[in-house]
Each structure stands twice: as C-alpha cells, then as structure tokens.
C-alpha cells in the first residue's frame, strides 16, 4: 500500500506539474499572440484612469468657490465697519 502511495505521488505530481507547466506555456503564447490587443487596451485604460483621477480632484473649483464666499464675508465685515 505504501508503495502504491509513492507511485501515486509520482504520477500525481508529474501530472500536476505537466498541467500547470503547459498552462504557463500556453499563457505565455497567448500573451504574445494578443500583445497588440492588450497594448491598445492598456493605453486606453491608463488614459481613462488618469482622466478619472483628475475628475476626482475638483479642488480648484472648490477653492474658487471658497474664495468667493470668504471674500463676500470679508466684504460684509468691511461694510459693517
């Protein structure tokens, strides 16, 4: 029985490594084949994320609005004096 276990181990690990090893090869090949598609996508993706990042920091607008309000407040104070 123990010898059976050893045989199974050999067979099993061989199959597991063959399977995942071949998978590595296939993934490499498909990555190479699809390189042009992926690169196009990657560029579009980066462009998109950069743009989004910019949209998420509308600090300039906010700062302007705050400036206007604080200005109007100080104007009001100035008026009081």
């Amino acid at each position: 029985m123990i010898i059976d276990g050893l045989k199974l181990t050999l067979l099993g690990m061989a199959v597991v490594f063959s399977f995942l090893g071949l998978l590595v090869v296939i993934v490499h090949l498909s990555a190479r084949l699809l390189k042009s598609f992926t690169e196009k996508e990657a560029t579009a993706y980066e462009f998109h994320t950069r743009r989004k990042a910019r949209e998420l920091t509308p600090s300039e607008d906010k700062r302007k609005i705050m400036a206007v309000i604080s200005a109007s407040v100080s104007a009001h104070r100035a008026g009081r004096k």
Partner: protein, 429 residues
C-alpha cells in the same frame, strides 16, 4: 420572573392531576387504532420521545446513539463558536456546525430518509451538484489577472500540491501502524485532498471516493483553511532567509480582456486533452470564470457569485454537517484525519516556499519565496499571509497581488490532483 416560576409550577401540578384522574378513562380510549392510550401511558410514551431520555437510554443501546450524539452536539457548538467568535471560515462553518447539531438530535431523524438533511445530502452532495455549483460561483469571483501577468508563479501552485500526496502516504502509514485506523487507498486519497486547501474540491472528491469520511474531511479542510494565518508563518520563516524575504517583485503588467477570456478556455482545453477526469471540477470552475470575464453575461455572473452561491453554500454546509453523526465521527480515524490535515497544510506550505527558492536558482527575475506558500490555495487567506510576512521583513514590500498568482493557480492545481485521484478506480485493477 416570579410569575414565570409560579405558572410553571401550576402546569406541572395540572399535568400530574390529569395523570391520576385519567386512569379511569383507560378503557374508553382503547377502541380504534388511532386512539390515544390512557393519560399515564401517554405521558410515558411522550417522555420516551423526549431527547433527554434518549441521550441516556438510546433505543438501540449503542453509546454513539446516546451520549455520542450529545458529544457531537457539543462539537457542533464548538464549530459555531470558532465560526462566530474566531471568524473561522464562518460562511461554511456556521451551516456545518448547525447541521452537525441537527443531525444528532435524537429521534428527530433529520438525516434519515424523508428528513430534510437527508434530502439535502442526497440531492446536493451525493450527486456532487453542490460542490460544482459552488466552484462555478468561485470561478465567477476569481480574477486570474495576477497569474496571467506572471505565469511562472503558477508553478508554485503546482509544488504546493505535494502536501496532498505526502498526506496520502501518511494516511497509508497510519493505517498500517496505528491499530483502529483502517484507511483504504480511496480514503487516503480523500484525506490527502485536505492539503488542497480548497473546500469544494475536497467535498467533491470525498463524496466520490469516501462518503463516510466526508464530514471529518470537510471540517478538517475548512478548519485548517481558517488556521492558515497560524500554521503557515513559522514554516515560511523556517524555509526562507531574511534576505530572501526582502526580495521585491517588479510591478505587474496590464492584462488584456482577451487574454482573460482565452484563459478559462485554455485551462479547459488542457483538461480535455490531458485529464478528463478533472473535467467536472475544472469545467465548472472555468465556466464561472468565463461568465465573469466574457463581459456579455454580467447578470448570470452576478447571480452565480451571489444569490446562487449563497443558497448552495447554506445547503452544502448543512449537508456536510449532516454527515457528522456520532457513529462516523467519534472514532480514532477522525483524530487521524485531523492530524494528517495539519501535516498536509504544513508540507504544502513548505513545498511552495522551497519551489520558489529552486526557481530562483535559475536565471530570470527573482521571486520572493514568501509567495510560494500561497500556492496551497486557501484563497485569499494564504495570499494575505504572504503579504503580512513580506511587510514584516520590509514595510514597503507589497506582495499581495504577486501572491494571488500562485494562490489561484493552487486552486487549479488541487483540482488537477483531484482529477488524478479520481482516476484511481480506472488505474487500479
């Protein structure tokens, strides 16, 4: 509170009064088959149908049907405690624990033919349907991107399966040298798969090869998966040098949509040509992943990873828990399985780490061996352990995404190993 006690007392008194008063009525009720015996007899019959008496005097005088059930209920509560308080894989261990309690309620017969747990087990687990549906849902939740970006890390997921096979040998050894433990080759294979650190795969294989061990194997698998943050770190530190642990890995490349769509089909293709016996597991896993990545069946993918996955998880857990009857669980074999499971995880972890070190002997970009341990699967816990130990060594070393590569490869590796073990019936003889 006082009134409660008083009421309760009143009822007991009332019950006793009736017992006495109804002796006279004994003959009147003896006519039809469906009539009720005298009050004393009725109360007697009824008390025989309480759980309390059956724990002490089980109907067939087997201790596994008496006090054994009580112990199993305790184990069920322990599982619930681990799940709820320690957050050990609660999604599975809450239903498993509750199922273990319910199956051990005396006289309720919830796991006997006609009982709810029987139907769940018979329809969903014996047939292998539930583990496959769960695998489909996990496929729909899995992003293979990190593995596609750095494919050679998949070999770490292959190496970590070594734990499965050494445990198989360990089970055979135990079987030979420990009296009271008698695992045949199928049992040993089912026990070995605990080292795959993947619940549905373990349940699927055990339901095929050794249904009588299903309960203990599933419990061991999920418990050790939850214990990964405790089991793995010492082994990982033992197998690596401090310098190795500081290796930084370069940022991953962008992985295209088409690559992600082709991938599940490639895996299925390999499975078709190389190992058809793994087709159910790998087929449904990759079907789920294709639904995720193809981008045109989002509503199916969402349902597969949410409503459907949740529904099946509840019932799978209950069905697995239902296999934890005292007779099947309370024996030396279960202890053996728990012991072997710990071995399996440890060896798997070490194999993954050492494989990374071996790979670093070859030219090419270096791998931080800490991500090797993630090859045992236990997604995403094992990858998080790699990340944590990486940051312990170098606070700016982010290994999480790199560890996800071997992590998901480990799921495929376990399914492949399960496929090999499923061919045992054909190989033997």
């Amino acid at each position: 509170m006082k009134s409660t006690f008083i009421f309760f007392g009143l009822i007991v008194v009332l019950l006793h009064l009736t017992c006495i008063s109804s002796i006279a009525g004994e003959e009147a009720a003896g006519a039809g088959i469906k009539s009720i015996p005298s009050m004393t007899k009725m109360v007697g019959n009824f008390s025989k149908s309480t759980g309390l008496l059956n724990f002490i005097f089980p109907s067939n005088n087997k201790w596994t049907d008496g006090i054994g059930r009580l112990i199993m209920i305790g184990i069920g509560i322990l599982l619930l405690y681990l799940a709820v308080h320690r957050q050990f894989e609660p999604l599975l261990l809450v239903p498993i624990g509750f199922g273990a309690i319910m199956t051990n309620i005396p006289l309720a017969g919830m796991s006997d033919p006609g009982g709810m747990l029987y139907y769940i087990y018979d329809i969903g687990i014996k047939t292998g349907v539930f583990p496959l549906v769960i695998f489909m849902g996990i496929g729909a939740m899995t992003d293979f991107g990190p593995m596609l970006a750095n494919p050679k890390t998949a070999l770490l997921g292959a190496a970590a399966q070594f734990g499965i096979f050494t445990t198989l040998i360990g089970a055979l050894l135990l079987s030979k040298y420990v009296p009271g433990i008698n695992f045949d080759l199928f049992d040993a294979a089912s026990i070995g798969i605990i080292g795959g650190a993947d619940g549905p795969t373990a349940i699927f294989l055990a339901s095929r090869l050794s249904p009588h061990l299903l309960g203990s194997i599933a419990v061991a698998a999920y418990s050790y998966m939850a214990l990964v943050p405790i089991i793995q770190p010492p082994i990982m530190k033992l197998c690596t040098t401090p310098d190795e642990r500081k290796i930084r890995m370069k940022q991953m490349r962008y992985v295209g949509k088409l690559e992600k769509i082709i991938f599940p089909l490639s895996v299925l293709g390999l499975c078709v040509f190389l190992l058809p016996s793994a087709a159910p597991l790998i087929g449904f896993f990759m079907f789920g992943n294709l639904m995720r990545e193809c981008g045109v069946v989002e509503r199916l993918s969402n349902t597969a990873q949410n409503a459907l996955l949740n529904i099946v998880t509840v019932f799978l857990g209950l069905g697995v828990g239902a296999q934890m009857s005292a007779e099947q669980f309370l024996n030396i074999s279960t202890l053996g399985i728990l012991f072997l499971g710990a071995i399996a995880f440890s060896i798997g972890t070490a194999s993954g780490v050492l494989m990374a070190r071996i790979m670093n002997l070859f030219p090419g970009s270096k791998i931080n061996p800490l991500i090797g341990s993630a090859g045992v699967s236990a997604v995403p816990m094992a990858a998080r352990v790699s990340q944590k130990l990486g940051m312990d060594a170098d606070p700016e070393n982010y290994l999480l995404m790199h560890a996800m590569g071997p992590n998901v490869a480990g799921v495929i590796g376990s399914a492949v190993a399960a496929g090999v073990l499923l061919t045992l019936k054909d190989i033997a003889g």
